[in-house]
């Protein structure tokens, strides 16, 4: 097995990628995926493998610069001949190229990349990117070329890493491309009107049974791909049961703390917990309920990927405050679930009644719950996760 050097990905793949296996990162438009290919390459180069980068989207100079921005040294390895470029970008732009291989015309592309694969037995080649090839050559020819590359790479135990932007190709073509790969990792956006996060998930792997876990990530320079532990807010009016809720959903192995945030003028206690559930990781922040702490809501919510808004089902006079907190946490812009808590108490309004009183749009789910009696909490969590990843 060869390590991918992408955090969490080796776990999801049962240790790494098999020797000679092809792996495709298939991304929705908008997802930053180049770092995945380059990070894999960099890790393997540091191990002592040889490698190449085929590029049709940027000249080698700009890619070298990207590596430097990530904090990875590719230049000395280029000098040693451990890694080289298959340059399909410079000739296209009329720029000079002194790379080991250039692709002057798409008719040469199959043979040139085959030669590159031959140069690096046991190594790793990155194809950036496959989408441009498809739209130049057409579906049938591209598939045939990819199959030929994968066959040769498999014989020589070269891992080919394909970067593919999943534009609106016909599903049939996408399916056939995915079938030619030993492993497909989907890169998706988390959206609520705009992109608020990105995640990767192993769709299939020829050598393991991957869990259907989506790992949220971000890309930093320097650093590369990092796993992102999102914040989930638990907010709501005073006495709606936020602390109990945070305690109920936080993973038992991590205790809930009341942390004092001394950066603020008064000491503020917040409930913070950590959650790992069905492969999803998050930090839970229970926001203070009193109005005088509202300034935190804005700050916290900038990094939140979802929010629970707790309301006391027996206290309709607090619903207006709940709505105000939704607004202040910018929870308008992130997936959210209203938890109608204290359903066990007499006088508790039903979710439909609460929705009417709050004038809440139909797109926000209201989940009935009683935290003290221990029901509704997991349903609320499943509902929110469904919103975050469902789209």
């Amino acid at each position: 097995m060869k390590k991918t050097y992408i955090p969490k990905l080796d776990d999801l793949l049962g240790g790494g990628v098999k020797e000679g296996a092809s792996i495709m990162f298939s991304a929705s438009p908008g997802v930053d995926y180049e770092a995945f290919g380059y990070q894999m390459l960099n890790g393997r180069l540091e191990e002592g493998s040889a490698g190449f980068i085929f590029t049709n989207v940027g000249e080698p100079e700009s890619i070298i610069y990207e590596f430097r921005s990530y904090g990875w040294d590719i230049e000395s390895r280029i000098e040693n001949g451990n890694v080289f470029f298959v340059d399909g970008s410079s000739p296209f732009l009329g720029m000079p190229s002194d790379q080991r291989y250039t692709v002057n015309d798409y008719s040469e592309i199959k043979e040139v990349v085959l030669r590159a694969i031959d140069d690096i037995p046991g190594g790793i080649g990155v194809i950036n990117n496959l989408s441009v090839i498809i739209d130049y050559l057409g579906n049938g020819e591209t598939l045939e070329i990819v199959e030929a590359w994968n066959r040769r790479a498999s014989e020589l135990e070269v891992n080919l890493v394909y970067l593919f932007t999943e534009w609106d190709y016909e599903q049939e073509l996408i399916d056939r491309i995915r079938e030619t790969m030993d492993c497909v990792v989907d890169l998706r956006t988390i959206e609520e009107r705009v992109i608020i996060g990105q995640g990767f998930m192993v769709a299939n792997s020829a050598w393991s049974e991957p869990p259907s876990t989506m790992v949220l990530f971000f890309v930093v320079q320097p650093g590369g791909v990092k796993v992102y532990v999102p914040k989930i807010l638990v907010t709501g009016p005073y006495n709606s049961g936020k602390s109990s809720f945070v305690r109920a959903i936080a993973t038992k192995s991590v205790s809930v703390d009341r942390k004092a945030l001394s950066a603020f003028p008064t000491t503020i206690a917040m409930d913070i917990g950590h959650l790992e559930y069905k492969g999803f990781m998050a930090d839970i922040f229970g926001t203070p309920g009193q109005e005088r702490f509202d300034m935190i809501l804005d700050v916290l919510s900038r990094e939140a990927v979802g929010a629970f808004i707790l309301v006391d089902s027996t206290a309709p006079e607090t619903f207006a405050r709940a709505k105000e907190m939704i607004r202040k946490t910018r929870a308008e812009a992130i997936p959210k679930v209203v938890v109608a808590n204290k359903q066990d108490l007499p006088g508790a309004l039903s979710p439909e009644e609460i929705r009417e009183k709050m004038k809440l749009g139909a797109e926000v789910p209201i989940v009935p719950a009683s935290v003290t009696e221990g029901w509704g909490v997991m349903e609320a969590l499943d509902t929110l996760l469904g919103l975050i990843y469902g789209g």
């Binding site: 180049e34 049709n56 009107r193 992109i195």
Partner: protein, 224 residues
């Protein structure tokens, strides 16, 4: 953010009417009909009215955008925090332009990277007050740097992104640069089609349209 939008360009609003959030507009015409003047005036009026704007400079770079707007005394620099620019061609000059403030550099042949930057900017601008406006000048130059089918896919993805965010998009396209099958397909991606032929401007929406004469003056586009 759910209110209807007016461009603020007098005669154009008269033939265009109000735009619902999520309206995607195509602006076509032969070369030098004044499309860039209209697109930059559209941008300036949007900023003046307090709206955030994403400008994709594809046929020319950020420097030319600044110069073009200054020629009309439209000082877009005063709206620096609400104006995001993605500059595609300047990288061809050989240097490696550095992203600075809200100006990001990409490349004409790296449409994946373009969409990453569009995603970043739309996320940021969505949080601002006002209706997000996005201008793409022009989509036709992409055809020199990418296969035509890919350009169509990129346009669809871009339109979807602006529509999803409830913004208003204006995509400039010079007619006559692509094969007929591509050119015939393009208008179908848009809700509104504005055409400038050198003397007459028309705006068509849902099969119905209005037109008016126009001139380019030193104040901008004078419609009607």
């Amino acid at each position: 953010m759910s209110e209807n939008y007016s461009t603020g360009i007098a005669g154009l609003d008269a033939i265009l009417g109000e735009l619902e959030p999520g309206s995607i507009m195509l602006l076509t015409g032969p070369p030098k009909a004044g499309k860039t003047v209209l697109a930059t005036e559209f941008t300036y009026r949007a900023l003046q009215a307090g709206n955030p704007c994403l400008f994709i400079a594809a046929e020319y770079g950020y420097r030319d955008l600044q110069r073009n707007t200054m020629a009309f005394n439209w000082f877009i620099q005063s709206f620096a925090d609400k104006l995001h620019v993605i500059d595609l061609p300047t990288g061809l000059a050989g240097g490696r332009p550095q992203d600075s403030g809200n100006v990001r550099y990409s490349a004409l042949q790296n449409t994946t990277d373009l969409m990453v930057k569009v995603g970043i900017s739309t996320r940021s601008l969505y949080l601002e007050e006002g209706t997000m406006v996005s201008v793409f000048d022009s989509a036709s130059i992409l055809l020199a740097f990418n296969p035509p089918k890919l350009v169509m896919r990129v346009l669809k993805a871009y339109n979807d992104r602006v529509r999803e965010a409830g913004g208003i998009a204006l995509v400039v396209y010079t007619e006559g640069v692509a094969e007929k099958d591509i050119e015939d397909e393009i208008p179908g991606l848009f809700d509104v089609h504005i055409h400038m032929d050198g003397s007459v401007m028309s705006a068509v929406r849902g099969g119905e349209g209005m037109e008016a004469p126009y001139r380019i003056t030193d104040q901008g586009v004078n419609v009607g």
